[in-house]
């Protein structure tokens, strides 16, 4: 998968760390010598509104992912997963912060199956809260995505990217949350 172009959409709600997790993915791509383009949302939307960021790795020029072209939708909120499903390319991966796909109607689940979407569910919020870091669901979910091989890089590359430019105590906590996600039941 490494040599290919790769596109991802990260969705959630203001305060969940959508931008942070996107930057970690970008740093991992950078470490592999890949070109990256990110589009972020700032300003009013960050005040509790829906936040979505786009990441394009490879020979791209525009910063936004087109509908039907994303290889991954990483959703920190089930509602925001639903809102952004149309980004998914056939056969792409959906990684969502939910214990299961119960948040979708049976019709939607069938549509997902027809589109050959690989759905990976993990209760990242629950696991993060259990670890005493309620705001860390983003990294738990990233760990779950890595363990399910929904990313073009191995977990080790992300583990390294997680520590960049951070004070040691944050780095340790981030890596713990990420490991928690890797071991999460899916």
């Amino acid at each position: 998968m490494n040599a290919r172009d790769w596109q991802a959409v990260v969705a959630g709600v203001g305060g969940q760390g959508v931008l942070f997790v996107t930057r970690v993915l970008a740093a991992a791509a950078r470490a592999q010598g890949r070109r990256v383009l990110i589009s972020e949302v700032h300003g009013m939307a960050q005040r509790g509104g829906a936040v979505v960021s786009h990441l394009k790795v490879g020979r791209f020029q525009g910063p936004l992912v087109a509908a039907g072209r994303a290889d991954l939708l990483l959703a920190l909120d089930p509602g925001e997963a639903v809102r952004n499903l149309s980004f998914l390319a056939p056969g792409a991966a959906l990684v969502v912060n939910a214990p299961d796909l119960g948040f979708l109607s049976p019709q939607a689940r069938r549509a997902l199956a027809r589109h050959k979407v690989r759905a990976i569910c993990a209760d990242a919020s629950g696991l993060a809260a259990g670890a005493g870091a309620a705001k860390g669901a983003n990294l738990v979910l990233l760990g779950a995505a890595a363990a399910a091989q929904a990313l073009p890089w191995g977990a080790e590359a992300l583990q390294r990217a997680l520590g960049q430019d951070l004070p040691p105590q944050h780095k340790r906590l981030n890596q713990e949350l990420f490991s928690l996600g890797r071991a999460a039941p899916r």
Binding site: V13, G14, R23, A26, A27, R30, R35, V36, L37, I38, S39, E40, V41, H42, G43, M44, A45, Q46, R47, G48, G49, A50, K56, F60, Q61, G62, P63, L64, V65, A66, A67, G68, R69, G79, E80, V82, R83, L85, S86, L88, P90, L104, S105, Q107, A108, A111, L112, H115, V117, S125, A129, A134
Partner: protein, 692 residues
């Protein structure tokens, strides 16, 4: 240089700041506004790499910012000024003149546009204002191009002695890309002001000559730009004559390239003749003629208005907004562009090797998520107190986080910076002249007040307006990322500034009645609002200003919520309704219950007789709380009755209704500010017992 170039992933605004520092900017000014806010901090940060860092200032508004940068450019220094597109409207007066008079040192004016709009009042196209003012404008398609255009923009500016606009859109400003950092240039030009009153202070007669010279200058710039390889990115067609060509600029050009590649029509390989111009005005005509001669029809892709379309020759051969091929409003997202391209390719009968496949669509779409004030935000307390204290009022507000008081029904207008005060002065006057006693309460943030509130306040005082003005002072510019305000005295690059005292400024505007409160004290806030309206109402009323001070909960959470008061909702009670019992208690017909009922459930049948419409009554108890004679009767249930008052008037993201409409505290959002303890009329929101 032998040293290897450092590479960093930079935000588009940081890339612009990097470009400015690398090109030797000496004076940098800005007023924050999404999506432009990160440019000036990047200049200040990267500037420290230089032996002589640039002077950076957060100006109080965009007009001031342009004038500060302009005067420095008169002395031969390299300057820049950044703002969002609606800020350019504020600055338009000096900008228009700047084109006529020109500069000596290079000056770059960055106006960040927001097609969509995502975080703005309008989706106006700054390129049209550059055209209107007769300033050259550059339209980058990415953070990398934005950085790369800065140095040529300075050369253009200095060669032709004219300010140059760079117009990034939100997707450039808030895109991130790997940028190879170049060594910053040490520009240390002395400030030399050469007296030339016929230029710097030109009288109208001279301005005609300056206008003629400007027109000639623009023609020379267009000719110069026609020969530039970097400003005109041209992909010639592989075949002699194509059916369809594309003329594009900005992010639309970059996205169109990606979309065409995904459709199997890569422009780099000559599948479609494609001209991207980095300078839409003055338009380099020769490359456009070459494009036109290479194809039958030309599809024009640009944001947000048809400037290229307006300036191109042979307009009858263009497909764009004029022909209806491109939507006239909204952002050109990949989805919109995809449809535009598919239609143009179909109509031009160009074969698409890899058409877009079927999309994943699902029926269950979640409701739109509205932005909201942060939990623990003191604005929420102020807006709740406002609706409780002065129900039935009209509440003009302004631009900032507190616009989100909309969610609490406490914001009735939001127009442009400072309009809360001018709107309130006008509304209070027309109501008073019309004999109406409607309370008028304006809310405005501290930074917005410094930006353009004071002039409106002077006008209100001078002309005898009387209303309540609440200045929401959280000591920072929150919405755009916590930039300091003049009150703090902190400056953008750490040069010594002086705090400008807010109360003294309000006093200086001629206001005599000023009270300072902390909105976290809800009872005091309500009393003060009522007192202020008593001061403003009536024929002899005068301006009343409340300065509401509390630290920003996002910037300084520990200071904003120094005492943690965890809350819980006590159980669930059955639905209840208010009852009017006027016989026993002698209703005085004061009308307070009518004014405060959020559901419109109360009507006045006749003097002293209020009717409760049970179908509308939510049982919130507000009428029972405000009734001075206890004629409205509803005992506190001590548990949640599902009235929804806390949701609609307090609108905290931590308070959520369950399927039965009973309110729950969402611990993931709650910051234990305890403000909601005083919201519920039934006493259902209670402090958690220790250990529970």
């Amino acid at each position: 240089m032998a040293k290897q170039r450092r590479q960093e992933i930079l935000l588009g605004n940081q890339a612009l700041g990097r470009g400015l520092v690398e090109a030797g900017v000496q004076v940098m000014t800005a007023y924050p506004g999404t999506p432009s806010s990160e440019i000036l901090p990047a200049v200040a940060a990267f500037g420290r790499e230089r032996a002589h860092p640039p002077y950076c200032e957060w100006s109080v508004n965009e007009k001031v910012a342009v004038e500060v940068a302009l005067a420095a450019a008169y002395t031969g220094q390299r300057t820049a000024c950044a703002m969002k597109q609606v800020g350019l409207n504020v600055a338009l007066d000096p900008v228009m003149s700047a084109a006529y008079i020109g500069v000596i040192g290079g000056m770059i004016l960055i106006s960040a546009d927001d097609p969509g709009p995502h975080s703005s009042q309008t989706e106006q196209d700054s390129r049209l204002l550059a055209h209107f003012a007769k300033l050259p404008v550059l339209d980058p398609d990415s953070p990398a191009m934005a950085r790369d255009l800065v140095a040529p923009a300075y050369r253009l500016s200095e060669r032709f002695q004219i300010p140059v606009m760079i117009r990034p859109t939100l997707r450039v400003c808030h895109g991130r890309q790997v940028i190879g950092l170049r060594a910053p240039r040490e520009v240390q030009r002395p400030a030399v002001f050469v007296k030339d009153p016929f230029r710097w202070a030109a009288i109208p007669k001279m301005r005609l000559a300056l206008h003629q010279a400007l027109n000639a200058k623009m023609a020379r710039i267009a000719a110069w730009a026609s020969a530039s390889r970097s400003l005109n990115i041209w992909h010639a067609p592989a075949r002699a004559k194509a059916r369809l060509g594309i003329l594009a600029s900005g992010v639309a050009a970059a996205l169109a390239r990606d979309l065409l590649a995904e459709l199997g029509l890569p422009v780099e390989e000559g599948a479609i003749p494609f001209l991207q111009t980095a300078m839409p005005y003055p338009l380099p005509i020769e490359p456009v003629r070459e494009l036109l001669s290479s194809c039958g029809r030309v599809l024009v892709l640009e944001e947000t208005e048809p400037l290229l379309e307006l300036l191109s020759p042979q307009r009858d051969r263009l497909w764009g907004r004029g022909s209806g091929h491109v939507p006239s409003a909204g952002e050109l997202t990949p989805d919109v562009l995809g449809s535009v391209l598919e239609r143009a390719l179909r109509e031009a009968r160009v074969r698409v090797p890899r058409p877009r496949g079927r999309l994943l669509t699902v029926p269950d779409q979640p409701p739109l998520r509205r932005p909201n004030l942060c939990p623990g935000c003191s604005h929420r307390a102020m807006f709740f107190a406002l609706r409780r204290a002065l129900p039935g009022g009209v509440y003009p507000s302004d631009i900032g986080c507190y616009t989100l008081g909309l969610n609490q029904g406490a914001v009735d207008t939001c127009h442009d910076m400072g309009a809360a005060i001018t709107f309130a002065s006008s509304l209070s006057r027309v109501f008073k002249r019309d004999g109406q006693a409607t309370p008028v309460v304006a809310t405005i943030g501290d930074s917005t007040f410094y930006h353009s509130g004071a002039a409106g306040l002077v006008n209100a005082v001078y002309n005898g307006a009387a209303f309540v003005l609440v200045i929401l002072d959280n000591e920072t510019t929150s919405m755009t990322g916590m930039q300091p305000t003049p009150e703090s005295g902190l400056t953008a690059d750490g040069h010594p500034g002086r705090p400008v005292n807010l109360r003294a400024l309000v006093q200086g505007c001629g206001v005599e009645w000023i009270e300072e409160i902390d909105p976290y004290d809800l009872a005091l806030t309500r009393r003060t609002l009522k007192k202020a309206w008593r001061q403003a109402r009536g024929p002899e009323g005068a301006m009343a200003v409340i300065i509401a001070r509390h630290a920003c909960a996002a910037q300084r959470p520990a200071e904003a919520v120094p005492v943690k008061r965890p809350v819980q909702v006590a159980g669930a009670a059955p639905d209840v309704k208010a009852v009017f019992d006027g016989r026993q208690h002698a209703c005085t017909d004061c009308g307070r219950c009518l004014a405060i009922c959020p559901a419109g459930a109360l009507t006045r049948r006749r003097k002293g007789l209020i009717r409760v419409q049970a179908a509308k009554c939510t049982g919130c108890r507000l009428c029972a709380e405000v009734c001075p004679t206890h004629s409205m009767v509803l005992e506190p249930a001590g548990a949640c009755v599902g009235c929804g008052l806390c949701l609609s008037w307090f609108a905290c993201p931590a308070l959520k209704a369950d399927a039965q409409g009973r309110v729950q505290v969402d611990r993931a959002w709650c910051v234990d500010c305890g403000l909601c303890l005083e919201v519920c009329g039934h006493g259902a929101i209670v402090a958690q017992e220790a250990g529970s």
